[in-house]
Amino acid sequence: MQKLTKLLKKFGLVGFFLILEIIAFLLVYRRNVYHQAVFNSATAEFTGRIFEFYAQTANYLMLRKENELLAEENARLRAEVSSSKYRFYDNNSTSKIPKQAYEFMPCRVVNNSTRESKNYFTIDAGSQQGISPDMGIISPNGIAGVVVDVSPHFSLCLSVLHIGFPVSVQLRKSKDFGSLEWDAISPFYSNLMYIPTHVEVNKGDTVETSSHSTVFPEGVPVGIVESYTINPDDGYYIIRIKLFTRFTALRQVYAVDYLFREEQKLLENSKP
C-alpha cells in the first residue's frame, strides 16, 4: 500500500487521472468480452433482481392500461372467430373472404345491480362510441345483457338477471332451444324453460346462445346445468343453470354489434 502511495505521489494527480481513464477506456473497448467473462454472473444476479423489482412495481401500476390493451385485443380476436363471420360469400364478389357479421367493442361496467328483480347495468360507452339499442353485452365468461337505452357517453343495459330478459338459448350437445328466464332468487343461477321432456338432459351440460337471436352470435356460453325438474303444469323441463358470468363482479364486458340486424328485422317484420 505504501508503495502504491509513493507511486501515486511520483506520478501526481494527472498520472492518477490518466491511469483511471486508461482503465475506463479498456473497459469500454473490452465491453462485450468482459461482460461475458468476469463480472457478468456476479452483477447480473444483483442488477437483475433490482430491475425485476422495478418491473414488478411498474407492471402493477400499469395493470389498468394493460387490461385495456388486452380487452381491445380480445375484442379483435372475438371478431376473428368463425361464428362472427357470415357463412356465405357474395355471388358477385371475387374475393373469398367471409363477410364480418359481428363486431366487438371493449367497455367497462360503471354501475350494476343484482338485488332487484329487474336488474340493469350501465356501461361507459354510448352513442358516440357507436353503441345502439339491441346490441348484446357479453362478459369474458358468457352473456351479460342487452343494450336498451343509450346516451352520448353511457348505455343502459338489461341484465340477464332481469325477469323479462329476452334471449333464446340452447343445449350445446343437442341444440334443443328454449328460453332463459330468471326467477329473481339468486344472481348465480337462472332457469332454462320450454325444453321438451324427450330431450336428454344431464347435469353439467353446457348451455349457450342459439342461432335464433339477433343479439348474440351463436355459441356464447351461458352456464351449465345444475339440476332439472319437470313442470307438472305444461310437461316441459325446468332446468336450473349455474351462470358463467359473475354478475356480482361484473367489470370488463364487450358490446356485440350484429351487422345484419336491420336487414334481418326488416325481413321478419314484413311477414304477412
Binding site: L13, F16, I23, R30, H35, T47, I50
Partner: protein, 171 residues
Amino acid sequence: MNISAFKQFLIFLGLLVFEIFIVSRIQISYLISPSVYLFFILQLRVRTSGYWVLLFGFLSGLLFDLIFHTGGVHAASTTLAAFLRVLILPVFLSTEDYDNNIHPGIYTMGPGRFLLFSFILLYAHHLSWFMLEIFKFDRIWITLLKAVISSMLSLALIYIIGLLFYKKKRI
C-alpha cells in the same frame, strides 16, 4: 466510521436509488437523457484530496457501468468530471471557503457560483458520456445539443435536490 462519512454514504445511496429508479427512466426524447449521480462528486468537501475525488469518481462511474452494462463509459466520463473538479474548483472558491472546508452547494457557495460550477462539470460528464456511447463523430452537433439539453435538465434536478435536502446556512 464517523458521522460525516456515514452521511456521505447515505447521500450516495440516495443518489443511486434516485438515478436507477427515476432519472434513468426519464425517456421523453432521444435528446433528453439526464443523470444526477455526479452530484456526489460535486458536493465532496473542498479540501478532499484530489486523489480521493478521482477515485470516488471512477468507482461511482464503474458502479453505474455495472448496473447499466455500459462497459467503462460512465467510469471514463465521471473520472473526467472529477478531474475537472480538481482543476476548476479553486477558481470558484475564496480562502474562507477553504478555511471552513465547505461542501459545495447552493447555500454554501451561492446559487450563481454553484450552478456555473455544476454546469461545467455536468456538461463535461454528459458530453464525454454520450460521445463514448455513440463512438462516432459524424453526429457531433446532435451530440453537443443532446449534452446541453440533458445537462440542463440534470442541473435543474440537482438544484431541486439542493433545495429539498439542504438547510439554509446561518450567517
